[in-house]
């Protein structure tokens, strides 16, 4: 029995120094709470144990939203970007997604410094081994017996909690990247009665740069014109590296299939559920058997390292098999592995045990964020960290909790999905998760969420004023464009014909021209004499909002409909057991999750539209009844 000693008291304690823990700790401290953040290793604050990149489809949206609410991730990514690309440029503004290759060590360094410098935030290297309720507060004890008290605790343990690494027939208790796991804490949480379960994830090998033959690989350059994640980043983002693309082939497939029995996934050793949308290479080869080849991206891990990341090639096959199949690929014939690929299994919670505030329903003052809540991905983790941090602080200060709506943000959608629908595998954000993609664009994240960030107190007045000023400029420009008519001219006709769209022989409205898919706002600068000088950011917003006006309006109408269902509240004391029209499964799910509105009830899996109709009528869907 170790001797416990009182080590201090805080408003908020955060367990974990990963992407969720950092945002949670920073936001709680910035909102005036005395905060402590515990990490198992201070050298790995903000580590990227998987891909050295931030953003991507829907994840880029999350980072921009996080930034608009006062999070740190966007700024850190901008400061440490190696290469930047806007994905999906050709597929429409709803799905434009910013993705940046990141210098992994530099990012970690930036974040470590950010938490160190934050006023009101103490950062400690310690493993929390137990958590107990003591007189209305939480007591957290470290392995060495230090006992800290806190009003609110945020669990952001990532893959550390009950972590176990698998490589072929070998497996052992471990955190990510060779760190210690948090095994005792997992046991403690289980004893407390938290609904824990096992998820797993994996990462590919890191290989030596000079062992790759780049001359036979496709090059992937960064964008010529780059954009930052953060509204506040003024310095242009420079592309410092290129990435490369390679492919698996028949031989790769052969080796993997031959050794499938040695994979812990297929031999049944791993019980954890892996991410459906980020499968290992053996998973891909088995699931998509008729696919001839799979893509691989070779991404540098940093400026001052030779480690290269093989995106798309995660595996839990034995080390020797890994080497053999990597070497079947063109360009990797002589590749040297520096760190092997591995799968890691960890404990996480069934997120339907959480309120949309990310507080556990059965444990007041206890919050969860990141992989602990069943999500996957740095961006998803950071987004939840911020929300958990804000809500912990609001709880301490006695303020109203922050619940972001589905109709207003991807972060709201992410959390709503988690706490309402739950997840059967690590949850990854995708644009298709949102019903309102055309409204929740990454270009307007600032307009959508900065007012909230400002009101909470995480966005300063100056930044907020800059954003509102820009919005006014944008609106004025849209109004001007709609009122401008261009006379027919030879040059205009030529432009239109060259773009494959019909020329005009009468005067034409500028906005109508921009609405044509083939024509951009910038294309018409030469014909638009009264055009003011505006920043690229404003120009892009003007273009998108004019081009997609009709569609945006349609989607706004759908939002209105959704809001009406969200505003139909369900009384807290409702007895689902007494509503016989509900199917049994629906009765059980509703009793367990206890949604606060009919809208939320409708998103619970196992609750059918017929059940919702029953609920609506029960609650007084008919005029003047039971209201």
């Amino acid at each position: 029995m170790i001797k416990r000693y009182d080590a201090g008291e805080y408003d908020v304690a955060v367990i974990g120094g990963g992407h969720a823990g950092i945002e949670a700790a920073l936001s709680a401290a910035r909102l005036g709470c005395s905060t402590v953040m515990f990490t198992i290793s201070l050298d790995w604050v903000g580590n990227m144990p998987c891909n050295p990149s931030i953003g991507g489809t829907a994840k880029g949206h999350l980072v921009r939203e996080l930034d608009a609410l006062g999070g740190e991730m966007g700024k850190a990514a901008d400061a440490t970007t190696l290469q930047s690309r806007m994905l999906n440029r050709g597929k429409g503004p709803a799905v434009y997604s910013l993705r940046a290759q990141i210098d992994r060590r530099a990012y970690s360094g930036y974040m470590k410094n950010a938490v160190e410098k934050q006023k009101g935030l103490d950062v400690k290297q310690a493993e929390i081994v137990s958590l107990e309720k003591e007189g209305g507060r939480w007591a957290l004890t470290t392995r060495l017996g230090a006992c800290f008290k806190a009003n609110c605790v945020i669990i952001a343990t990532g893959t550390f909690l009950g972590g176990r690494v698998y490589i072929g027939e070998v497996n052992y208790e471990s955190g990510p990247d060779g760190n210690f796991p948090a095994t005792e804490l997992a046991n403690c949480l289980k004893q407390m009665g938290l609904p824990l379960r096992r998820f797993k994830t994996g990462t590919p090998a890191r290989v030596a740069r000079d062992s790759i033959d780049f001359s036979v690989l496709e090059v992937q350059e960064g964008d010529e014109k780059t954009e930052p994640f953060s509204y506040k980043t003024k310095k242009p983002i420079e592309n410092k590296v290129v990435c490369h693309i390679g492919y698996t082939n028949e031989k790769t497939k052969e080796i993997i299939l031959e050794n499938l029995d040695r994979s812990p996934l297929y031999s049944g050793v791993i019980e954890g559920v892996g991410p459906r949308y980020c499968p290992s290479i053996e998973d891909k080869i088995v699931r998509f058997a008729d696919k001839k080849r799979h893509q691989m991206f070779i991404e540098p891990c940093g400026e001052n390292t030779d480690e290269m990341y093989l995106q798309g090639m995660s595996s839990s096959l034995p080390e020797e098999v890994q080497l053999a199949f990597y070497r079947t690929m063109k360009g990797l014939e002589n590749v040297k592995v520096m760190r092997n690929a591995y799968a890691i299994e960890y404990d996480c919670i069934d997120p339907t045990a959480l309120y949309p505030t990310l507080e556990l329903k059965s444990f007041p003052g206890l919050f969860g964020a990141g992989q602990f809540n069943g999500s996957s991905g740095y961006e998803e983790a950071a987004a939840q960290g911020l929300v958990a941090g804000i809500n912990a602080a609001h709880r301490v200060k006695g303020k109203e909790p922050l619940i972001l709506s589905r109709t207003g943000s991807y972060i709201g959608t992410l959390i709503d999905d988690l706490v309402t629908k739950g997840c059967m595998d690590p949850y990854r954000m995708m644009t298709s998760r949102s019903e309102y993609r055309l409204l929740l664009r990454q270009d307007n994240a600032d307009e959508r969420l900065m007012p909230t960030g400002h009101e909470i107190g995480l966005i300063d007045d100056l930044t907020f004023a800059e954003m509102t000023g820009e919005t006014r400029l944008k609106e004025a420009e849209i109004a001007r464009v709609k009122s401008v008519f261009l006379p027919p001219s030879e040059a205009l006709g030529e432009l239109l014909i060259s773009r494959g769209t019909a020329p005009t022989d009468t005067g034409v409205n500028l906005a109508d021209l921009i609405k044509r898919p083939q024509i951009s706002y910038k294309d018409l600068a030469a014909f638009d004499k009264g055009r003011p000088v505006l920043s690229d950011r404003v120009c892009e917003k003007v273009q998108i909002e004019i081009k997609y006006e009709g569609y945006i309006e349609r989607q706004s109408k759908q939002v209105e409909e959704m809001r009406r269902l969200e505003s139909k509240r369900i009384p807290e004391d409702i007895d689902y057991g007494s509503i016989r029209g509900l199917r049994l499964e629906a009765r059980e799910k509703l009793s367990k999750i206890r949604p606060d509105s009919v809208g939320r009830a409708g998103r619970i899996s196992g609750v059918s539209p017929a059940d919702i109709a029953v609920l609506l009528i029960y609650l007084g869907g008919i005029k003047g009844e039971n209201k």
Partner: protein
């Protein structure tokens, strides 16, 4: 939910063979026992479900109201899924009302419009689409209408819509995957595949939309007017169609001064038929009011039966009629075929014509066939699904418009994220149509059409 027991008169108001008072709720049996006394002396509370007792409806003081039969249904095997008693008394407003008063006095509450069905729905006895079709079954005016409404209650519309919806969902899913996994080389949608899918869905919805009006004709009846100059046999035709002396027939021109209405079944079609005053130039003040009413009714009808007397040559009044009906959905009824044909009917070339003898009944089958044809009922196959009402129709139209726009947008090069908005809209409209997406508005719309007692 209020646990109250509700009651209402479930048969139409007015005189009839019997009236039924329906009581539903957990106290239905004990309440009924206070208002009904069985000849056998047996209490309703002691009876099994699906059994009946003969006796009398009584007031609280034991005084007798009327001879009655009580039917007992036990939960959940009843219309509402609750305990139900139906007390049948003699038809006529007084016995039923007295009995209902007694039921209220015994502790039942007044049932609001549609509340029995609402309870059936809440107790899982039917889904939204079934509830909606119940309204149409109640309102069915003829065998065909009943067939259509029953088809809907069996969920036929749902299945048709589901097929289209699934197709659209698949498209939406591939559009999403294309955006969500830029690193996986997922093929973009090729134009051919997309257009084929869109056109298929568009055609299926268009078919539903196109049969709506014929379906409505079957379900609701078609407003029809009999017009013509005086004394051509309009009222005789009216009486022949309705099978009774609805209109007064004399040999004097201008006997029918005002509009006479009746409802007649012609094959699968119910006509809401108006007999109108003969249209002619007149100085008679009363008659001229009748004439202008006749013309207004002609304009407002979905089907016009224009009657001509072919035993006499056409005159200026006939020509005026021909002019009035030339743009209408109409049948020129060439009457008095039992007399020698004198009229030159060339002015009616291009019109649907049927020769009849309204007096003797000749040609009536041909007329009925023509009426069915013009109301579109002939085009409806017995197994066709039809949209039941304006609510479903407007959903279908919304879906079709969104799909058409999606097609146009896709072909003109609008980016796929925007095209998806339109496809989502079509999916939403279809889900709403089939009751699969229950918004408060949909539920309210469906239940507001119920009458009290159902």
């Amino acid at each position: 939910m209020s646990e109250s027991t509700i009651a209402a008169i479930s048969t139409p108001k007015g005189e009839g063979g019997i009236s039924v008072i329906r009581i539903s709720g957990s106290d239905a049996l004990s309440i009924a026992d206070k208002c009904f006394s069985a000849v056998s002396g047996k209490k309703l509370c002691d009876m099994k479900g699906y059994t009946a007792a003969f006796g009398a409806a009584v007031r609280g003081d034991g005084s007798r109201i009327d001879e009655a039969v009580a039917l007992v249904f036990r939960a959940p095997k009843s219309y509402t899924g609750e305990d139900v008693v139906e007390i049948s008394v003699h038809g006529g407003i007084v016995p039923a009302r007295e009995c209902l008063k007694s039921v209220f006095a015994a502790g039942a509450c007044f049932a609001r419009a549609g509340e029995f069905t609402k309870r059936a729905f809440l107790n899982g006895k039917m889904d939204l689409a079934e509830a909606e079709s119940v309204i149409e079954i109640i309102g069915a005016k003829n065998a065909a209408a009943l067939r259509l409404a029953n088809g809907a209650k069996e969920g036929r519309i749902g299945k048709d819509i589901e097929k289209i919806t699934e197709k659209l969902l698949l498209t939406a899913a591939s559009l999403a995957a294309y955006s969500d996994f830029p690193d996986e080389d997922i093929e973009g949608l090729d134009q051919e595949h997309f257009s084929a899918m869109i056109e298929e869905s568009e055609a299926a919805i268009s078919k539903l939309i196109s049969t709506f009006h014929s379906g409505q004709a079957v379900l609701l009846g078609v407003p029809a007017a009999i017009v013509g100059k005086p004394n051509v046999g309009k009222s005789t035709l009216m009486n022949m169609l309705s099978g009774n002396e609805r209109s007064i027939v004399t040999k004097h021109a201008g006997t029918t001064r005002d509009i006479v209405e009746t409802q007649v079944n012609v094959g699968d079609i119910t006509l809401v038929l108006s007999d109108t005053a003969g249209i002619r130039e007149t100085d008679d003040e009363i008659e001229s009011i009748g004439v202008s009413r006749a013309i207004r009714r002609l304009d407002g009808s979905a089907l016009v039966l224009a009657v001509f007397d072919i035993s006499k040559p056409f005159d200026g009044d006939d020509e005026r009629i021909i002019d009035l009906i030339k743009d209408k959905n109409c049948i020129a009824v060439l009457n008095k075929s039992d007399l020698p044909k004198v009229a030159d009917c060339s002015a009616l070339a291009g019109f649907n014509t049927v020769e009849v003898s309204a007096k003797l009944g000749g040609g009536m089958d041909a007329l009925a066939k023509k009426i069915e044809e013009l109301c579109g009922a002939a085009a409806l196959l017995p197994d066709d699904t039809v949209l039941l009402n304006e609510r479903q129709y407007s959903c279908a139209v919304r879906a079709k418009n969104a799909i058409s726009e999606a097609k146009e947008a896709f072909c003109s090069g609008v980016t796929l994220d925007a095209v998806t908005v339109l496809i989502d809209e079509a999916i939403n409209a279809l889900l709403e149509l089939s009751g699969k997406k229950a918004t408060g508005e949909v539920v309210e719309e469906i239940f507001k059409n119920f009458c009290i007692g159902k």
